[in-house]
Amino acid sequence: MTMTAPEDTTVEVAAHVPPVDRARVLALRRSPAQGLDEEMRRGSGAAARLREVPFLTQVAIRATPGRDGSLTETLGLDLPTHVGEVAGAGDGNGLAVLWLSPDEFLAVGPDEAESGVSPEAYAGGLAEALGSERGQAVDVSANRTTLELSGSRARSVLEKSCELDLHPRVFPVGAAVATLLGSTGVILWRTGEDTWRVMPRASFATHVVRWLLDGMREYR
């Protein structure tokens, strides 16, 4: 049996579907830690503050550096080459590409509501740029959410349950690594001297928020 392409049916269906109001769709989104807004506000103090930075565009890139077609031109950035390195906006204001492994990277950009660029379309463009080279670019914006922990004691809060050396000598501003916070896998990204992004998987967001809030209690 051969596959036949659907003919006029698709056209007909499309004609009956009203155009999607993207802005309305974006307004209906709920972020993984949205219900904890109030809890995070109450748990924050001068020395340690926690908030969610929801809906950042995230694209998982698998590619071999140097053999990535026109991926780097399309990104406008070179792929990072070693652990901890972030290409582009290391402070999180703009497009950044995080090193996750020698052939795995995470592009993080602003929310679609802000940039006007849909993550699917952006990932599609990157995938196209890979051409015939081995690799992939997939929209994973819903995979992780972003928590921002800031304040003069933010590092102390993280040090309670992260075993890496977070001293600026070892972990400078603009560095990001995949590691464990307690027993939860997260991406830890230092976007400022006293500002950290903690990116847990969406289903771990509640746990990680409450975990960090517990660590923040003594600094409230």
């Binding site: 652990v83 492994s101 075993e163 590691t179 464990l180 896998g185």
Partner: protein, 95 residues
């Protein structure tokens, strides 16, 4: 707590890793040609040295890559790590 040197990510605590058993156990060229005993030998039997032991580890919470490490089973001291596909340095002894 062991500190294990990932070839990609550098030193990380043991909890970030998964253990994969003895390294360099080659898959049989033609499994169908093996007797049940030989197949069982391949599947279940591993060396159990007292001293250096080449093992596979995976950095599950980091770069998610497999690599090999030579660990002394008496002291837990890891004397070498190397990527899959790389060969152990000639100076390494043991299983």
């Amino acid at each position: 707590m062991l500190i294990i040197d990932c070839p990609n990510c550098g030193p990380r605590p043991e909890t970030e890793y998964g253990y994969g058993g003895q390294a360099h156990v080659a898959y049989p060229e033609d499994p169908h040609a093996l007797t049940d005993e030989e197949w069982a030998q391949y599947l279940f039997y591993r060396d159990n040295p007292k001293g250096d032991y080449a093992e596979r580890w995976v950095h599950s919470a980091g770069c998610r890559k497999w690599f090999n490490a030579v660990r002394d089973t008496r002291t837990y001291e890891i004397s070498a790590v190397y990527r899959t596909g790389e060969t152990r340095s000639e100076t390494q002894k043991g299983a």
